[in-house]
Protein backbone atom coordinates (compact mmCIF):
# COMPACT_ATOMS: atom_id res chain seq x y z
CA UNK A 1 0.00 0.00 0.00
CA UNK A 2 2.77 2.47 1.05
CA UNK A 3 4.75 1.46 -2.01
CA UNK A 4 1.78 2.22 -4.29
CA UNK A 5 1.24 5.62 -2.65
CA UNK A 6 4.93 6.34 -3.03
CA UNK A 7 5.01 5.53 -6.76
CA UNK A 8 1.98 7.82 -7.26
CA UNK A 9 3.80 10.60 -5.38
CA UNK A 10 7.01 10.06 -7.36
CA UNK A 11 5.20 10.05 -10.73
CA UNK A 12 3.23 13.18 -9.74
CA UNK A 13 6.49 14.90 -8.66
CA UNK A 14 8.18 13.87 -11.93
CA UNK A 15 5.30 15.28 -13.98
CA UNK A 16 5.36 18.46 -11.89
CA UNK A 17 9.08 18.72 -12.66
CA UNK A 18 8.34 18.18 -16.35
CA UNK A 19 5.79 21.00 -16.14
CA UNK A 20 8.39 23.31 -14.56
CA UNK A 21 10.87 22.22 -17.24
CA UNK A 22 8.45 23.36 -19.95
CA UNK A 23 7.64 26.50 -17.97
CA UNK A 24 11.32 27.29 -17.41
CA UNK A 25 12.48 26.47 -20.97
CA UNK A 26 9.71 28.20 -22.94
CA UNK A 27 12.06 31.15 -23.22
CA UNK A 28 14.69 29.12 -25.07
CA UNK A 29 12.15 28.13 -27.68
CA UNK A 30 10.17 31.31 -28.23
CA UNK A 31 12.36 34.25 -27.14
CA UNK A 32 14.04 34.84 -30.49
CA UNK A 33 10.76 34.63 -32.45
CA UNK A 34 9.19 37.15 -30.08
CA UNK A 35 12.17 39.48 -29.93
CA UNK A 36 12.33 39.78 -33.75
CA UNK A 37 8.50 40.05 -33.91
CA UNK A 38 8.26 37.01 -36.16
CA UNK A 39 5.42 35.78 -33.95
CA UNK A 40 3.25 37.31 -31.25
CA UNK A 41 4.03 35.97 -27.76
CA UNK A 42 0.77 34.03 -27.48
CA UNK A 43 1.08 32.42 -30.93
CA UNK A 44 4.74 31.58 -30.31
CA UNK A 45 3.96 29.95 -26.97
CA UNK A 46 0.96 27.99 -28.37
CA UNK A 47 2.99 26.72 -31.33
CA UNK A 48 5.84 25.77 -29.00
CA UNK A 49 3.48 23.85 -26.69
CA UNK A 50 1.96 21.84 -29.57
CA UNK A 51 5.36 20.99 -31.05
CA UNK A 52 6.84 20.17 -27.64
CA UNK A 53 4.05 17.62 -27.26
CA UNK A 54 4.70 16.15 -30.71
CA UNK A 55 8.48 16.10 -30.20
CA UNK A 56 8.21 13.85 -27.17
CA UNK A 57 7.06 10.98 -29.40
CA UNK A 58 9.97 11.06 -31.86
CA UNK A 59 12.70 9.18 -30.00
CA UNK A 60 13.46 7.37 -26.70
CA UNK A 61 17.27 7.31 -26.80
CA UNK A 62 17.72 10.07 -24.24
CA UNK A 63 15.28 8.31 -21.87
CA UNK A 64 17.42 5.17 -22.19
CA UNK A 65 20.57 7.16 -21.34
CA UNK A 66 18.91 8.60 -18.22
CA UNK A 67 17.55 5.18 -17.23
CA UNK A 68 20.62 3.06 -17.86
CA UNK A 69 23.72 5.20 -18.42
CA UNK A 70 24.14 7.51 -15.42
CA UNK A 71 23.22 5.67 -12.22
CA UNK A 72 23.08 1.97 -11.45
CA UNK A 73 19.43 1.05 -12.14
CA UNK A 74 19.79 -1.95 -9.81
CA UNK A 75 20.46 0.33 -6.82
CA UNK A 76 17.64 2.81 -7.50
CA UNK A 77 14.77 3.19 -5.03
CA UNK A 78 11.68 5.39 -5.15
CA UNK A 79 12.89 7.73 -2.33
CA UNK A 80 16.11 8.30 -4.36
CA UNK A 81 14.12 9.28 -7.46
CA UNK A 82 11.84 11.47 -5.35
CA UNK A 83 14.78 13.24 -3.66
CA UNK A 84 16.45 13.78 -7.04
CA UNK A 85 13.30 15.36 -8.42
CA UNK A 86 12.94 17.66 -5.41
CA UNK A 87 16.61 18.69 -5.79
CA UNK A 88 16.07 19.50 -9.46
CA UNK A 89 12.76 21.31 -8.90
CA UNK A 90 14.23 23.40 -6.08
CA UNK A 91 17.14 24.51 -8.27
CA UNK A 92 14.82 25.20 -11.20
CA UNK A 93 12.53 27.35 -9.09
CA UNK A 94 15.47 29.19 -7.49
CA UNK A 95 16.88 30.11 -10.90
CA UNK A 96 13.39 31.06 -12.11
CA UNK A 97 13.00 33.30 -9.02
CA UNK A 98 16.21 35.15 -9.87
CA UNK A 99 15.50 35.16 -13.63
CA UNK A 100 18.51 33.00 -14.56
CA UNK A 101 18.12 30.61 -17.50
CA UNK A 102 20.01 27.63 -16.06
CA UNK A 103 19.59 24.03 -17.22
CA UNK A 104 16.57 21.96 -16.10
CA UNK A 105 18.22 18.86 -17.56
CA UNK A 106 21.40 19.17 -15.58
CA UNK A 107 19.35 19.99 -12.47
CA UNK A 108 17.47 16.71 -12.91
CA UNK A 109 20.61 14.66 -13.49
CA UNK A 110 22.42 16.42 -10.63
CA UNK A 111 19.49 15.83 -8.27
CA UNK A 112 19.28 12.10 -9.04
CA UNK A 113 23.08 11.64 -8.81
CA UNK A 114 23.22 13.52 -5.48
CA UNK A 115 20.41 11.45 -3.98
CA UNK A 116 22.02 8.24 -5.25
CA UNK A 117 25.38 9.17 -3.65
CA UNK A 118 23.64 9.97 -0.35
CA UNK A 119 21.84 6.60 -0.44
CA UNK A 120 24.44 4.20 -1.82
CA UNK A 121 27.75 6.04 -2.06
CA UNK A 122 29.69 6.92 -5.17
CA UNK A 123 29.90 3.29 -6.38
CA UNK A 124 26.25 3.44 -7.50
CA UNK A 125 26.96 6.30 -9.92
CA UNK A 126 28.33 5.54 -13.39
CA UNK A 127 30.84 8.38 -13.47
CA UNK A 128 32.04 7.30 -16.92
CA UNK A 129 28.49 7.68 -18.24
CA UNK A 130 27.99 10.95 -16.37
CA UNK A 131 31.18 12.40 -17.81
CA UNK A 132 30.86 10.98 -21.33
CA UNK A 133 27.12 11.45 -21.84
CA UNK A 134 26.35 14.54 -19.77
CA UNK A 135 29.37 16.63 -18.75
CA UNK A 136 31.40 16.55 -21.99
CA UNK A 137 28.34 17.09 -24.26
CA UNK A 138 27.36 19.91 -21.88
CA UNK A 139 30.63 21.70 -22.66
CA UNK A 140 30.67 20.82 -26.35
CA UNK A 141 27.04 21.65 -27.22
CA UNK A 142 26.92 25.42 -26.50
CA UNK A 143 30.26 25.88 -28.27
CA UNK A 144 28.96 23.86 -31.20
CA UNK A 145 25.76 25.92 -31.36
CA UNK A 146 27.90 29.07 -31.17
CA UNK A 147 30.04 27.91 -34.12
CA UNK A 148 27.05 26.70 -36.19
CA UNK A 149 25.13 29.94 -35.62
CA UNK A 150 28.27 32.04 -36.24
CA UNK A 151 29.06 30.31 -39.54
CA UNK A 152 25.37 30.31 -40.47
CA UNK A 153 24.95 34.05 -39.96
CA UNK A 154 28.19 34.90 -41.81
CA UNK A 155 27.05 32.84 -44.82
CA UNK A 156 23.53 34.25 -44.62
CA UNK A 157 24.71 37.86 -44.54
CA UNK A 158 26.99 37.19 -47.52
CA UNK A 159 24.11 35.73 -49.53
CA UNK A 160 21.59 38.46 -48.75
CA UNK A 161 24.07 41.36 -48.47
CA UNK A 162 22.75 43.26 -51.48
CA UNK A 163 19.06 42.84 -50.73
CA UNK A 164 16.94 45.60 -49.27
CA UNK A 165 16.60 45.00 -45.52
CA UNK A 166 12.79 45.15 -45.51
CA UNK A 167 11.94 42.22 -47.83
CA UNK A 168 14.91 40.15 -46.59
CA UNK A 169 13.83 40.67 -42.97
CA UNK A 170 10.30 39.61 -43.86
CA UNK A 171 11.67 36.43 -45.45
CA UNK A 172 13.60 35.51 -42.32
CA UNK A 173 10.58 36.30 -40.13
CA UNK A 174 8.62 33.69 -42.10
CA UNK A 175 11.58 31.35 -41.73
CA UNK A 176 11.46 31.79 -37.98
CA UNK A 177 8.02 30.19 -37.86
CA UNK A 178 9.70 26.98 -39.07
CA UNK A 179 13.01 27.34 -37.22
CA UNK A 180 11.11 28.12 -33.99
CA UNK A 181 8.88 25.13 -34.66
CA UNK A 182 11.88 22.86 -35.15
CA UNK A 183 13.42 24.15 -31.95
CA UNK A 184 10.19 23.40 -30.04
CA UNK A 185 10.13 19.92 -31.55
CA UNK A 186 13.77 19.41 -30.55
CA UNK A 187 13.04 20.61 -27.01
CA UNK A 188 10.12 18.19 -26.66
CA UNK A 189 12.26 15.37 -28.00
CA UNK A 190 15.22 15.89 -25.67
CA UNK A 191 13.67 17.28 -22.50
CA UNK A 192 10.46 15.27 -22.15
CA UNK A 193 12.56 12.11 -22.46
CA UNK A 194 14.50 12.98 -19.31
CA UNK A 195 11.32 12.84 -17.26
CA UNK A 196 10.32 9.63 -19.06
CA UNK A 197 13.68 8.12 -18.07
CA UNK A 198 13.25 9.13 -14.42
CA UNK A 199 9.65 7.83 -14.20
CA UNK A 200 10.81 4.56 -15.79
CA UNK A 201 13.57 4.31 -13.16
CA UNK A 202 10.90 4.71 -10.45
CA UNK A 203 8.76 2.01 -12.12
CA UNK A 204 11.81 -0.28 -12.12
CA UNK A 205 12.29 0.40 -8.40
CA UNK A 206 8.58 -0.32 -7.81
CA UNK A 207 8.90 -3.64 -9.67
CA UNK A 208 6.60 -2.75 -12.58
CA UNK A 209 9.43 -3.09 -15.13
CA UNK A 210 12.24 -5.68 -15.07
CA UNK A 211 15.60 -4.19 -14.01
CA UNK A 212 17.42 -5.69 -17.00
CA UNK A 213 14.80 -4.68 -19.58
CA UNK A 214 14.55 -0.90 -19.87
CA UNK A 215 11.36 0.07 -21.74
CA UNK A 216 9.30 3.26 -21.46
CA UNK A 217 5.54 2.51 -21.19
CA UNK A 218 3.21 4.43 -23.55
CA UNK A 219 1.34 6.13 -20.71
CA UNK A 220 4.66 7.55 -19.48
CA UNK A 221 5.41 9.00 -22.94
CA UNK A 222 1.93 10.55 -23.23
CA UNK A 223 1.87 11.99 -19.71
CA UNK A 224 5.42 13.42 -19.97
CA UNK A 225 4.59 14.96 -23.36
CA UNK A 226 1.41 16.52 -21.94
CA UNK A 227 3.15 17.90 -18.84
CA UNK A 228 5.98 19.59 -20.77
CA UNK A 229 3.53 20.99 -23.34
CA UNK A 230 1.31 22.43 -20.60
CA UNK A 231 4.34 23.92 -18.83
CA UNK A 232 5.51 25.46 -22.10
CA UNK A 233 2.11 26.99 -22.70
CA UNK A 234 1.93 28.55 -19.26
CA UNK A 235 5.39 29.95 -20.05
CA UNK A 236 8.16 31.78 -18.22
CA UNK A 237 7.82 35.42 -19.07
CA UNK A 238 10.66 36.65 -16.87
CA UNK A 239 13.19 34.40 -18.54
CA UNK A 240 11.86 35.29 -22.01
CA UNK A 241 13.07 38.85 -21.37
CA UNK A 242 16.59 37.67 -20.50
CA UNK A 243 16.96 35.34 -23.49
CA UNK A 244 15.28 37.51 -26.08
CA UNK A 245 16.72 40.94 -25.51
CA UNK A 246 19.34 41.01 -22.79
CA UNK A 247 21.97 38.82 -24.46
CA UNK A 248 21.88 40.58 -27.86
CA UNK A 249 19.45 42.62 -29.89
CA UNK A 250 18.61 40.41 -32.85
CA UNK A 251 17.46 40.95 -36.40
CA UNK A 252 15.25 38.28 -38.05
CA UNK A 253 18.20 36.66 -39.87
CA UNK A 254 20.04 36.26 -36.57
CA UNK A 255 16.91 34.88 -34.89
CA UNK A 256 16.44 32.36 -37.69
CA UNK A 257 20.10 31.32 -37.57
CA UNK A 258 20.19 30.99 -33.77
CA UNK A 259 17.04 28.84 -33.77
CA UNK A 260 18.22 26.67 -36.67
CA UNK A 261 21.60 26.11 -34.98
CA UNK A 262 19.88 25.26 -31.68
CA UNK A 263 17.42 22.86 -33.30
CA UNK A 264 20.18 21.13 -35.31
CA UNK A 265 22.36 20.59 -32.23
CA UNK A 266 19.52 19.41 -29.95
CA UNK A 267 18.01 17.06 -32.55
CA UNK A 268 21.43 15.59 -33.40
CA UNK A 269 22.11 15.08 -29.68
CA UNK A 270 18.71 13.40 -29.19
CA UNK A 271 19.55 11.09 -32.07
CA UNK A 272 22.76 9.89 -30.39
CA UNK A 273 21.17 9.81 -26.91
CA UNK A 274 22.87 12.80 -25.23
CA UNK A 275 20.62 14.51 -22.65
CA UNK A 276 21.57 18.09 -23.56
CA UNK A 277 20.48 21.34 -22.03
CA UNK A 278 18.31 23.29 -24.46
CA UNK A 279 19.14 26.40 -22.45
CA UNK A 280 22.90 26.00 -22.92
CA UNK A 281 22.52 25.25 -26.60
CA UNK A 282 20.16 28.10 -27.32
CA UNK A 283 22.27 30.63 -25.45
CA UNK A 284 25.29 29.43 -27.48
CA UNK A 285 23.27 29.86 -30.67
CA UNK A 286 22.07 33.35 -29.72
CA UNK A 287 25.61 34.44 -28.86
CA UNK A 288 27.03 32.89 -32.04
CA UNK A 289 24.46 34.71 -34.17
CA UNK A 290 25.35 37.95 -32.38
CA UNK A 291 29.11 37.49 -32.53
CA UNK A 292 28.94 36.52 -36.23
CA UNK A 293 27.63 40.00 -36.95
CA UNK A 294 29.67 41.98 -34.41
CA UNK A 295 31.49 40.54 -31.38
CA UNK A 296 30.71 43.60 -29.27
CA UNK A 297 26.95 43.11 -29.92
CA UNK A 298 26.87 40.31 -27.35
CA UNK A 299 26.33 41.41 -23.78
CA UNK A 300 29.07 39.27 -22.33
CA UNK A 301 28.24 40.31 -18.73
CA UNK A 302 24.78 38.71 -18.94
CA UNK A 303 26.29 35.71 -20.73
CA UNK A 304 28.87 35.22 -17.95
CA UNK A 305 26.14 35.35 -15.27
CA UNK A 306 24.38 32.58 -17.16
CA UNK A 307 27.61 30.57 -17.39
CA UNK A 308 28.05 30.79 -13.61
CA UNK A 309 24.49 29.52 -13.09
CA UNK A 310 25.23 26.60 -15.41
CA UNK A 311 28.46 25.66 -13.63
CA UNK A 312 26.62 25.65 -10.31
CA UNK A 313 23.65 23.60 -11.55
CA UNK A 314 24.98 20.02 -11.33
CA UNK A 315 26.65 20.34 -7.89
CA UNK A 316 23.87 22.52 -6.42
CA UNK A 317 21.07 20.20 -7.55
CA UNK A 318 23.14 17.22 -6.36
CA UNK A 319 23.54 18.84 -2.94
CA UNK A 320 19.79 19.52 -2.65
CA UNK A 321 19.02 15.98 -3.88
CA UNK A 322 21.39 14.48 -1.28
CA UNK A 323 20.00 16.68 1.51
CA UNK A 324 16.43 15.79 0.53
CA UNK A 325 17.29 12.10 0.56
CA UNK A 326 18.85 12.53 4.02
CA UNK A 327 15.71 14.31 5.26
CA UNK A 328 13.29 11.71 3.85
CA UNK A 329 15.30 8.81 5.28
CA UNK A 330 14.90 10.32 8.78
CA UNK A 331 11.29 9.09 8.55
CA UNK A 332 12.21 5.60 7.32
CA UNK A 333 12.14 4.22 3.80
CA UNK A 334 8.36 4.38 3.29
CA UNK A 335 5.83 6.97 2.19
CA UNK A 336 5.97 9.25 5.26
CA UNK A 337 9.31 10.98 4.51
CA UNK A 338 8.55 11.87 0.87
CA UNK A 339 5.00 12.95 1.87
CA UNK A 340 6.35 15.37 4.52
CA UNK A 341 9.04 16.73 2.14
CA UNK A 342 6.45 17.13 -0.64
CA UNK A 343 4.18 19.11 1.71
CA UNK A 344 7.09 21.36 2.78
CA UNK A 345 8.08 21.87 -0.88
CA UNK A 346 4.53 22.87 -1.87
CA UNK A 347 4.30 25.36 1.04
CA UNK A 348 7.73 26.83 0.13
CA UNK A 349 6.66 27.12 -3.51
CA UNK A 350 3.44 28.96 -2.62
CA UNK A 351 5.37 31.38 -0.35
CA UNK A 352 8.03 32.03 -3.06
CA UNK A 353 5.46 32.60 -5.80
CA UNK A 354 3.33 34.89 -3.62
CA UNK A 355 6.40 36.91 -2.60
CA UNK A 356 7.54 37.16 -6.21
CA UNK A 357 4.15 38.25 -7.52
CA UNK A 358 3.96 40.92 -4.76
CA UNK A 359 7.42 42.19 -5.74
CA UNK A 360 6.41 42.34 -9.40
CA UNK A 361 3.15 44.10 -8.55
CA UNK A 362 5.05 46.70 -6.47
CA UNK A 363 7.42 47.47 -9.36
CA UNK A 364 6.73 50.53 -11.56
CA UNK A 365 5.15 49.74 -14.94
CA UNK A 366 7.74 49.05 -17.66
CA UNK A 367 10.47 47.81 -15.32
CA UNK A 368 11.98 44.75 -16.89
CA UNK A 369 13.66 42.61 -14.30
Amino acid sequence: MHSDLLIILVVATALAFDFTNGFHDTANVVATSISTRALSPRVAVTLAAILNFAGAFISLKVAATIGTGIVNAGAITMPIVFAGLIGASTWNLATWYFGLPSSSSHALIGGVVGAMIAANGTAAVQFGGLLGKVVIPAFVSPLLAFVVAGLGIVLTYRLVARLRPGPAGRGFRYGQIFSGGMLALAHGTNDAQKTMGVITLALIAHGDIARNHFAVPDWVVISAASAIALGTYVGGWRIIRTMGTRIIKMDPAQGFTAQTAGAAVVLAASHVGFPLSTTHVMAGGVMGAGAGKRVSAVRWGVASNMAIAWLLTLPAAAAVGATTYGATSLFGSGFLGPAIIATIAIIALIIAMTKRSRELAARPAGANS
Binding site: I58, S59, L155, L159, L163, F178, L185, A264, A268
Partner: protein
Protein backbone atom coordinates in the same frame (compact mmCIF):
# COMPACT_ATOMS: atom_id res chain seq x y z
CA UNK B 1 43.02 3.93 -14.86
CA UNK B 2 40.17 4.46 -17.32
CA UNK B 3 41.21 6.01 -20.62
CA UNK B 4 39.41 9.08 -21.93
CA UNK B 5 38.32 7.23 -25.08
CA UNK B 6 36.62 4.57 -22.96
CA UNK B 7 34.55 7.24 -21.18
CA UNK B 8 33.74 9.45 -24.15
CA UNK B 9 31.64 7.95 -26.91
CA UNK B 10 33.83 9.50 -29.61
CA UNK B 11 31.70 8.18 -32.45
CA UNK B 12 28.50 9.72 -31.01
CA UNK B 13 30.27 12.98 -30.20
CA UNK B 14 31.68 13.26 -33.73
CA UNK B 15 28.26 12.44 -35.18
CA UNK B 16 26.77 15.24 -33.05
CA UNK B 17 29.40 17.69 -34.35
CA UNK B 18 29.22 16.91 -38.07
CA UNK B 19 25.43 16.45 -38.24
CA UNK B 20 24.91 19.75 -36.40
CA UNK B 21 27.36 21.59 -38.64
CA UNK B 22 26.00 20.19 -41.90
CA UNK B 23 22.32 20.54 -40.95
CA UNK B 24 22.59 23.87 -39.12
CA UNK B 25 24.88 25.75 -41.50
CA UNK B 26 23.36 24.03 -44.55
CA UNK B 27 19.76 24.95 -43.75
CA UNK B 28 20.76 28.55 -42.93
CA UNK B 29 22.58 28.90 -46.25
CA UNK B 30 19.87 27.21 -48.33
CA UNK B 31 17.13 29.29 -46.69
CA UNK B 32 19.16 32.45 -47.35
CA UNK B 33 19.24 31.41 -51.03
CA UNK B 34 15.42 31.07 -50.86
CA UNK B 35 15.10 34.59 -49.41
CA UNK B 36 17.47 35.86 -52.11
CA UNK B 37 15.42 34.13 -54.81
CA UNK B 38 12.05 35.42 -53.61
CA UNK B 39 13.29 38.99 -53.15
CA UNK B 40 15.13 39.17 -56.47
CA UNK B 41 12.22 37.51 -58.30
CA UNK B 42 9.85 40.11 -56.94
CA UNK B 43 12.21 42.96 -57.95
CA UNK B 44 12.60 41.61 -61.50
CA UNK B 45 8.85 41.07 -61.84
CA UNK B 46 8.22 44.70 -60.90
CA UNK B 47 10.82 45.77 -63.48
CA UNK B 48 9.06 43.55 -66.06
CA UNK B 49 12.08 41.27 -66.55
CA UNK B 50 10.07 38.07 -66.68
CA UNK B 51 12.84 35.57 -67.51
CA UNK B 52 15.03 36.70 -64.63
CA UNK B 53 12.01 36.73 -62.32
CA UNK B 54 11.14 33.14 -63.30
CA UNK B 55 14.75 32.03 -62.82
CA UNK B 56 14.93 33.50 -59.31
CA UNK B 57 11.49 32.05 -58.47
CA UNK B 58 12.73 28.60 -59.53
CA UNK B 59 15.85 29.07 -57.39
CA UNK B 60 13.67 30.01 -54.41
CA UNK B 61 11.39 27.00 -54.97
CA UNK B 62 14.35 24.61 -55.12
CA UNK B 63 15.86 26.14 -51.97
CA UNK B 64 12.57 25.92 -50.01
CA UNK B 65 12.11 22.33 -51.21
CA UNK B 66 15.68 21.59 -50.07
CA UNK B 67 14.97 22.97 -46.58
CA UNK B 68 11.72 20.96 -46.31
CA UNK B 69 13.50 17.79 -47.51
CA UNK B 70 16.27 18.27 -44.92
CA UNK B 71 13.78 18.76 -42.08
CA UNK B 72 11.55 15.81 -43.02
CA UNK B 73 14.56 13.52 -43.60
CA UNK B 74 16.00 14.47 -40.20
CA UNK B 75 12.74 13.68 -38.40
CA UNK B 76 12.25 10.40 -40.27
CA UNK B 77 15.80 9.25 -39.40
CA UNK B 78 15.23 10.10 -35.74
CA UNK B 79 11.85 8.40 -35.58
CA UNK B 80 13.14 5.21 -37.25
CA UNK B 81 16.07 4.48 -34.90
Amino acid sequence: MISATAIVDTHALLELVYVSLIAGVGICAVYAVAVLGVTRSSEHRRADRRAAAALYAALATIAVAGCCWAIVTGIVIMAKK
